[in-house]
Symmetry: C2
Subunit: 361 residues, 2 copies
Amino acid sequence: MPRRIASGDGKPRPATIKDVARHAGVSVATVSRILSGTYPNAPATRSKVMRAVRELDYVPNAHARGLAGVRPKSVAIVVNSVISPHYAHVAQGVHEEAARAGRLCIVGTTGGDLERELAAIQLMREEHAEAVILVGNVNPDEAYRERMAGYARALAAAGSQLVLCGRPPLGPDVPAIVVEYDNTGGAFAATSHLLSAGHKRILFLGRRSGYTTPESRVAGYRAALAAHGVPHDPGLEVDGARMVRREGYRMMRERLDAGPRDFTAVFASNDLIAAGAREALRERGLRIPEDVSMVGFDDLPPAADIDLTTVYIPHEELGRTAVRLALKSETPGASEHVLLGTHIVVRDSVCPNVGEASGPD
Amino acid sequence: MPRRIASGDGKPRPATIKDVARHAGVSVATVSRILSGTYPNAPATRSKVMRAVRELDYVPNAHARGLAGVRPKSVAIVVNSVISPHYAHVAQGVHEEAARAGRLCIVGTTGGDLERELAAIQLMREEHAEAVILVGNVNPDEAYRERMAGYARALAAAGSQLVLCGRPPLGPDVPAIVVEYDNTGGAFAATSHLLSAGHKRILFLGRRSGYTTPESRVAGYRAALAAHGVPHDPGLEVDGARMVRREGYRMMRERLDAGPRDFTAVFASNDLIAAGAREALRERGLRIPEDVSMVGFDDLPPAADIDLTTVYIPHEELGRTAVRLALKSETPGASEHVLLGTHIVVRDSVCPNVGEASGPD
DNA sequence: CTGAAAGCGCTTACAG
DNA sequence: CTGAAAGCGCTTACAG
């Protein structure tokens, strides 16, 4: 049982470096040096000090240490929500790499609210986090770019580093590290997979104008159509408000209600949308893949449960890379751009097209 | 564009309170008081100071503030992994409540590793987190109890507070807040639901001796059998190593391989296990609920996708309550015990038993 | 290899 | 309502 120091009024208070020094019969400078482990020291002194540390259950005060100029041991991540599977997996990667480097993770959630994002960044600046990682889908309009440039410069000035994860770069004059993954390539592969099975009428579910993630997936979809010489019908691109299950259900439901089915396959902009769309199809007695083929994006838990062919994103690798690059860069305010690959994962949601569905031609 | 202070060597450095004071023509004490907002102050002075703060983009240094004795603005949570849906939802609740209270969240992941748990707690002590929340299933043996008692006392001594979430209390002499939910009651309701549908041979999938979560669910299962006058057959309780999908698959698969089916219904100790077991059943052509009825526990995402009747746990409420109680308690090292309710959520995974399965009698 | 002392950026009695 | 000064617990040149 470690002893506790009693202050004047008898209440226990945590031991300080002074207590340790007194206990070990050395100066505080010596204790500090021995604990830092980067100075030469006499073994006898060393063991005296370590013994005192153990006996007093001494834990250094991170605030004092931070004030005295030592780089703090924390990285920060800001996400919309920690229950979104994609964010959770990226965060998991961040945690792993942070733990490996002996860093603590500060996590901020915004719920998509700008006020909360600002407040989170502010608190992280106060804490002097070594890096601040922002992740996820955004609409990179002028206001967004200015906000990010402001964050980047403020963090750099404070010796920290802004990292953008799954977002586009901000431009050469903004000090930020960017870790992206290949949305367009993945969407190209997914669409090609359907095209190779003979599908020509492929519904794209979940377009959202202005937002980087769905837009780059639509781009891959269109590129694949073009590459296979299949005409592009804008009427097959369905808009969705958010990339969630319920939206997938709504979009498919409304499509089926609107008239005779004019597609044989579906490319859902993510797995959650695929799961929702699948439910709407089943309510009409349409099975996957016998009646309709479907491909998703993300390769997150729902995909395995519904046997969905989808596109794998290196979620955790994104988080690990973000931390690795941020901690590596000696100079705060570094700029770097990394693009990680994606690939298709084949399950059982695509059948060859036997030409049932009627096109508008 | 905020001005940046240039230090001697020309590199920008973040503004300090001194810069603000000089810029506003007042003393640092005045700036400090105005920013704290808890002292009387002259409106004219106030606006001068706020203007300087804005123009210099001043952010207070949390380390200096912490050192000077102000309670830090962070709560900490320690979980096995952030991608486990249960942990993620509890964490979401913690974040919400923390954000509401203007606190930052420090999140530690342990991967179930004791070394990492210890390291995380240590770092959180260094950071002087206001509360440290530990969540999840454990085997509360002597070593565990001693470890927790040590954490609790060390945190209390440092003015912080240990909170146990979904874990049993440690005893009256240990300063910890405990927020539990009703596992046994939920399991009783789930089992009763199956019994009411006429099932008598109910497989319990995922017993794990010594671990609090599965053990209290088994207890509810047994209590329900007893209450309904159905004989308890220990042979219907199947052991599982971890509460994951793959284990559910393995347990069901081995059970079906071992001989003729001797149950008409399944109570899975959580939804993931239910999803895995369902897959094994389907491989044998057994459908839910036509051939086998099934009930799970958690009411997390997989449940809706597989139409599973299950037990709802107030995951997020657990996290919110943990933070609320911890921040409320003025005296660090408070003791408190809260038990939140659970309830059954009926979907489409239970049919009346028509007496197909053969019991051992 | 070790110690005495300055300083990091705040807050808060203590005076006025 | 405001200012001068001590002090929080460390680290690190500066001496020796």
